[in-house]
């Protein structure tokens, strides 16, 4: 841990980029607080969610944050759990990132769930063991404990044996928690597009991709694109891993779409047809989230480091749209239960656009991530010690 005074906490190099990030952080925190305040006054009516579209942007942002956390945890485990040498440099920073993004996710979900305190009480008193949300929440709690101890033994009281033990525990809990989050959607028998094995597996895959993007962004920002040899070696390896993961994801997505369209079962095929024609899918998920990064890696023979930092920013925008669409696409097909033309209107795809409060809380959560990261960089030494 570093010695820290209040003055030191606020001191940073005043480069234009740093200033921009500082303003962004303060701005995002501001809108988070504003959004939260508005929500406390108006309750759920501050959100644009409805009976037919009960989940919205906040669930998507929660998934976005915890995907980031799990992804960072998995990628960092390549180094300190599986002992691949090049990846040992990212251990501390990635685990700090995993804790921070998870906490940001919890901050957002606490404002989405109507009664978060009651949740903590009755999750213990009357647990619903058949509920994927129960398992997901409980496992993420366990995961947080593990990775916090792991961070403690990596940074504060250095002990590699214990760090590894908690690292393995954190990795397993994280994988279990995150695939359960996929199962929250995968278990929905009422929603044919979500129901099935796809989401639990896809969540882990896309978490790993998110982890790679975040490592590029974090290290790109930290070293301003001039990297020491050990970091460069790691980022080069990461290029190959990311390329392979993206290839698998594209393959998965393609087959998901083809199987959904095949046979034209209305609830599944019509929904997917609607989805693949939407701009959030084409521009967000496919172009930003998958194609651009994949093409850059492909044409640079997996040697692109500088471009990958920028491409990863685009990739994260794509990842956001993947989360948003995941929630929205699951819910757009109307529950056609003898309401064929309720009140004389034929059923159409359900529409949803987030309210200003949802935007403020959801995107404001990124401000929490940036702030906590800044503090963590100040308080802890997140670089690998040269003596190791």
């Amino acid at each position: 841990m570093n010695e820290l005074s209040i003055k030191e906490l606020f001191r940073f190099e005043k480069t234009p980029l740093n200033l921009l990030i500082a303003i962004l952080t303060v701005g995002l925190l501001g809108i988070f607080v504003a959004g939260a305040t508005y929500y406390f006054i108006h309750g759920h009516h501050a959100f644009n969610v409805t009976r037919q579209h009960p989940w919205g942007l906040l669930i998507a942002m929660y998934v976005f944050f915890v995907v980031s956390s799990t992804g960072l945890c998995i990628i960092s485990s390549i180094g300190h759990v599986f002992e691949v040498k090049e990846f040992q440099v990212i251990g501390k920073r990635a685990i700090a990132g995993a804790i921070i993004t998870l906490l940001s996710g919890f901050a957002v979900i606490a404002l989405e769930v109507g009664h978060p305190v009651r949740m903590l009480i009755y999750n213990v008193l009357t647990p619903g063991f058949t509920s994927a949300i129960w398992w997901m929440g409980t496992l993420y709690g366990i995961y947080l404990v593990f990775i916090t101890f792991e961070f403690f033994f990596l940074t504060i009281k250095e002990n590699h044996k214990w760090a590894k033990i908690f690292g393995i525990g954190g990795l397993l809990a994280g994988l279990a928690a995150h695939s359960n989050l996929g199962a929250v959607f995968g278990f929905l028998i009422s929603r044919p597009t979500a129901n099935g094995v796809f989401y639990p597996v896809y969540f882990i895959l896309s978490a790993m991709i998110t982890g790679c993007y975040l490592i590029y962004i974090i290290y790109g920002f930290k070293y301003k694109n001039s990297y020491p040899a050990n970091i460069k070696a790691m980022l080069l390896k990461l290029n190959k891993i990311l390329g392979m993961l993206l290839g698998i994801l594209i393959f998965f997505e393609a087959w998901k779409i083809i199987t959904a369209l095949y046979g034209t079962m209305p609830e599944r095929a019509e929904t997917i047809l609607h989805v693949i024609k939407s701009p959030t899918f084409i521009f967000g998920e496919v172009i930003l989230g998958m194609l651009i990064p994949f093409i850059v890696i492909l044409f640079s023979n997996a040697k692109a480091i500088k471009p990958m930092v920028y491409v990863s920013l685009a990739g994260m925008v794509g990842i956001f749209f993947m989360r948003y669409d995941l929630v929205h696409d699951t819910l757009i097909y109307p529950m056609d239960t003898l309401k064929r033309s309720e009140y004389q209107l034929p059923p159409t795809f359900i529409e949803y656009f987030p309210s200003a409060t949802e935007f403020a809380i959801g995107f404001g959560g990124i401000g929490i991530t940036l702030l906590l990261f800044y503090i963590a960089e100040k308080v802890f030494n997140l670089d690998v010690d040269t003596k190791h």
């Binding site: 309750g43 759920h44 969610v49 409805t50 009976r51 037919q52 009960p54 989940w55 769930v113 109507g114 009664h115 978060p116 009651r118 949740m119 009755y122 999750n123 008193l125 009357t126 647990p127 619903g128 058949t130 509920s131 994927a132 949300i133 129960w134 929440g137 929250v184 278990f187 929905l188 028998i189 009422s190 929603r191 699951t330 819910l331 109307p334 529950m335 239960t337 003898l338 309401k339 064929r340 033309s341 309720e342 009140y343 004389q344």
Partner: protein, 187 residues
């Protein structure tokens, strides 16, 4: 101890919506377009004059199906959704955390958020307002002018509903999902 269900002679429905009104009054449902426990689904007549299909125009009264294998109950993280002693699917507002997972999981769009308790609400076969007082009918049933609805104990072979289901053909909604719904549409 009973296992309550409802048979609906839906072709007798004249779309007067007395049941919707009675339900709102009985259970104090707040105004708002999302706030309803029961509804009448309508299907307009198909075809162009003179080939209009009269049989295609139907009115389908519907509500929570009180599934015997309820997805909403399975997904509830705090067991706030539970089967009561009459196998009526109920929500305990003390335990509901408003995660709205059940609203996503219900294949019948039967649930909504009640603004008084800020928890999830839905049809409970008038358990609080009528069954608890020893009554044996629901408000929607009692008010229906064409006697579409028959409410009763499916486990009692002599109940009116059991007799009806023995003598009339019926269909159910989204049975293939394995939810074992307890609304029966008499054909």
């Amino acid at each position: 101890m009973a296992r309550y269900g409802m048979a609906l002679d839906y072709k007798n429905c004249i779309n007067c919506r007395a049941c919707e009104t009675a339900c709102k009054a009985e259970n104090g449902i707040l105004p708002g377009k999302d706030n309803y426990r029961i509804w009448i689904g309508q299907k307009e007549a198909e075809g162009e004059w003179p080939n209009i299909s009269i049989v295609s125009q139907t009115y389908h009264p519907s509500q929570c199906q009180h599934c015997d294998n309820a997805p909403c109950q399975q997904v509830c993280p705090t067991n706030a959704t539970y089967y009561d002693e009459n196998r009526v699917v109920r929500v305990d507002p003390e335990r509901c955390i408003l995660c709205t997972y059940c609203i996503n999981a219900c294949p019948y769009d039967a649930r909504y958020v009640d603004d008084r308790t800020v928890t999830v609400d839905k049809c409970n076969f008038c358990s609080d307002t009528r069954l608890a007082n020893g009554e044996t009918t629901t408000a929607c049933q009692a008010t229906c002018p064409t006697k579409v609805r028959t409410f009763g104990d499916l486990d009692d072979p002599n109940s009116e509903i059991s007799q009806l289901l023995k003598t009339r053909e019926y269909k159910q909604v989204k049975e293939h999902l394995g939810t074992k719904p307890k609304l029966f549409y008499l054909i």
